[in-house]
């Protein structure tokens, strides 16, 4: 085993641990901080299954964003959907033998990367060109897009232009999973692609990427409209009800 492969392997473990531990901590925090009042944005569903449907529409179609701004929706939705397909396609590097459906989406996954890049480029262009969005952007907001673009471009290059030893790459990823380390192909594009993914995994729990778990815990979207029928009270609020208060 060579030095670079060892470093990448170790970084992958580190990034995975950071990602899992800190995202889990955040989810635990969101789940345990109480929502003391009923604040769904109305009109809201009257049942839990209605709420599940509302959240599903938000997560799958970006319903509110669609209503809000068609350009941001177009680019944002295109990016996220393409990213999903691309990620599913990447399962082929972690499973052996490759599942049937993963093999079937392979061509879609390959071309989805272009949509991902178009979406990201659109978002970046808006961030730079639209005065209002430029005003609210911090350096981290640009860097996040650039990082994703870097991942997307290096990946697309690997798929279509700078073919690498993909069999060896898969041996590396499977080796990570089974703790049986294998050397990594040393093409620069591979190193850039994997390096950028590692960085993304590490910053995920400390950045605005927390919108992913966050949306499920947003009280304005996940609450049932039943305040009159069912008393909703947080634990800290019940303490106010003891007689000497």
């Amino acid at each position: 085993m060579d030095f670079i492969s060892v470093v990448y392997a170790l970084l992958f473990y580190l990034a995975s641990v950071i990602f899992v531990v800190f995202v889990a901590r955040k989810i635990y925090q969101y789940a345990t901080v109480p929502a003391p009042l009923k604040i769904p944005t109305m009109p809201a569903p009257l049942t839990t299954s209605g709420v599940a449907l509302r959240l599903a529409r938000e997560v799958v179609f970006f319903e509110s964003l669609f209503r809000s701004n068609k350009w941001i929706w177009l680019f944002g939705w295109m990016f996220h959907l393409a990213l999903l397909v691309v990620l599913l396609r990447h399962l082929r590097y972690f499973i052996d033998p490759v599942w049937m459906w993963v093999a079937l989406i392979q061509p879609f996954g390959k071309y989805a990367s272009f949509f991902m890049l178009i979406g990201l480029a659109g978002l970046l262009a808006r961030r730079i060109v639209v005065e209002r969005i430029r005003y609210i952007s911090n350096p981290s907001d640009y860097l996040m897009l650039l990082l994703l673009l870097l991942i997307g471009m290096s990946g697309t290059m690997l798929t279509f232009v700078l073919h690498t030893d993909i069999v060896q790459l898969k041996a590396f990823t499977l080796g990570l999973l089974y703790f049986d380390w294998q050397p990594l192909p040393k093409d620069p594009a591979v190193l850039v692609h994997l390096g950028a993914v590692i960085v993304l995994m590490i910053i995920f729990p400390f950045s605005k990427l927390l919108h992913a778990p966050g949306i499920f815990f947003s009280p304005s979207r996940n609450q049932v409209d039943n305040a009159r029928e069912k008393r909703h009270i947080a634990e800290w609020a019940t303490k106010l009800e003891t007689p000497n208060n």
């Binding site: 901080v33 966050g214 947003s218 609020a237």
Partner: protein, 496 residues
């Protein structure tokens, strides 16, 4: 007329160019020590306010999931940037919802996140300075907590929640707003926002009874502190004397009379409005809500009905059960509480009211959805009932009704500009400018359909429009109460 320029109507709804610092000001008057202390807050800005503010922020992050999640989840997508009426009316970028949130978020990041502690420049994190406190005070009092931004945010981030948290933090360090805190102190002392004591209230109600008798020849009662009746009516105290509010109160009285429902007002809980919501204080909000519970117990009523008031209906519909429940001592046949529009609507459906629509033929009407009613409550049993029921009531008593453009009504409604504790003369400029989108929509139905009047079911909206309509070339009496229309149309049975 004004010390500022009233924004012109836009030929079509273009998004304004940014004018940084256009509304950079000192904010509204600061609360006096008496009023601060009556609410349990320090009298004036404490010496170690930075430390205390951060401490309070930490406390709120642990108690309010909304605040914690909303601080983290924003991706700066910009979808909300053009949705706030104050931004549309003032062009000040800090009135864009996300920028308003960022005033708090920059400090949250600095003190509570890894990235902000170690890479502040990268993520726009900032130390809490006096300058930032002043910006908080100014811009969190240019938010009417109308929740319009929340509708359009992909994560439902509700700037109202963040404004409330900001105001709670400022109160807790002794830097509260005079208007809200003075009013809350008055409720504790006297029972209502206007500080009307019981004898004055009794007088007013008697005067109204006489007016109704003179006008109709029918003796309609407006009882106060009467035990053992069916309904406790809790209504904003503006209904007792302000125009056009009081015409609405007369309308409720006629509805009760005609339906044969016995009712009363309580002098102890003579206020539906609960301004503690505006300052984000759960404890104070609860204290005011408990007065209503107490009044219901003392007067041995069976039902609680709320009069026309937007944020009052939010506290009533969404929070009352939480703050002052359970209401198992009331008649379980009725929801607790009920809105007066729900009650009137049910009666109309049952044919229990005789109505003469032609009594309102001198008016062509439209309806202003008040933000709190539209986006924070419901009426009736189906989602969106809060849009349908008031309109159905209006249509049952008027022949001419037209909606304003579809993107300015229902849950996309634009705030009147005076909600959220902004209904004070020291905030006149932001109130007038924030009314722009609503005024544009009204102009459109005026031009297209000859609409002459706009009905509303919120005491703040009514007062605000009375003030701002003239700035935009309308007459102040073009705003009417929904139950004023009912009052005009209802045919009273002669006394038996």
């Amino acid at each position: 007329m004004a010390a500022f320029d009233v924004p012109p109507f836009r030929p079509y709804p273009i998004i304004p160019e940014l004018k940084p610092d256009a509304m950079k000001k000192d904010g509204p008057f600061i609360a006096k020590p008496d009023h601060q202390e009556a609410l349990g807050f320090p009298g004036k800005l404490v010496d170690n306010w930075q430390e205390k503010a951060i401490e309070k922020m930490g406390d709120l992050l642990k108690r309010f999931r909304s605040f914690q999640v909303y601080m983290d989840a924003c991706v700066k997508c910009g979808a909300c940037t053009d949705k706030c009426h104050y931004f549309i009316g003032t062009s000040d970028p800090k009135n864009m919802p996300v920028a308003r949130q960022d005033l708090l978020r920059q400090v949250y990041r600095r003190y509570f996140t890894f990235a902000g502690k170690y890479f502040p420049k990268l993520v726009g994190a900032k130390d809490l300075t006096r300058e930032i406190l002043d910006e908080w005070y100014n811009y969190y009092h240019q938010c009417s907590q109308c929740r319009r931004c929340s509708v359009f945010c992909p994560y439902g981030i509700d700037t109202a929640e963040i404004s409330m948290a900001a105001r709670e933090i400022m109160d807790s360090i002794g830097h509260g707003q005079k208007y809200c805190n003075e009013i809350i102190a008055k409720v504790y002392k006297i029972g209502n926002n206007l500080g009307l004591p019981e004898p004055a209230l009794r007088d007013t109600l008697e005067g109204l009874e006489e007016d109704i008798l003179d006008a109709t020849g029918v003796a309609v009662r407006l009882p106060i502190d009467e035990e053992g009746v069916d309904v406790l009516l809790v209504t904003p105290s503006a209904d007792f004397f302000a125009e056009p509010h009081v015409d609405g109160l007369v309308g409720y009285a006629k509805v009760f009379h005609q339906a044969g429902i016995s009712w009363t007002i309580s002098s102890y809980a003579s206020e539906a409005a609960n301004f503690s919501m505006f300052i984000g204080s759960y404890e104070n909000m609860r204290k005011i809500a408990l007065r209503i519970r107490q009044a219901a117990i003392d007067l041995k009523v069976k039902r609680i009905v709320f009069g026309e008031c937007g944020h009052a209906w939010r506290v009533a519909y969404s929070f009352l059960n939480t703050l002052a429940g359970p209401f198992d001592f009331l008649d379980p046949k009725y929801p607790v509480p009920q809105h007066i529009c729900e009650l009137t609507y049910d009666l109309i459906q049952r044919g229990a009211l005789k109505l003469d629509k032609t009594a309102n033929d001198h008016m062509k009407l439209t309806f202003h959805d008040s933000c709190n009613v539209a986006r924070a409550t419901r009426m009736g049993s189906m989602p969106g009932g809060q849009f349908v029921i008031p309109r159905e009531v209006i249509k049952a008593v008027c022949n001419h009704y037209y909606d304003m453009p579809s993107d300015t009504i229902h849950d996309g409604t634009f705030c009147c500009g005076g909600g959220g504790g902004l209904l004070t003369d020291d905030l006149m400029e932001v109130r007038v400018k924030g009314a722009l989108p609503r005024m544009e929509a009204l102009k459109q139905v005026t031009d297209d359909h000859g609409v002459t009047h706009m009905a509303a079911i919120c005491a703040i909206c009514k007062s605000q429009f009375t003030k701002v309509l003239p700035y935009y070339g309308f007459r102040m009496d073009q705003i009417v109460s929904v139950h004023q229309l009912v009052s005009n149309a209802i045919v009273l049975s002669p006394p038996e």
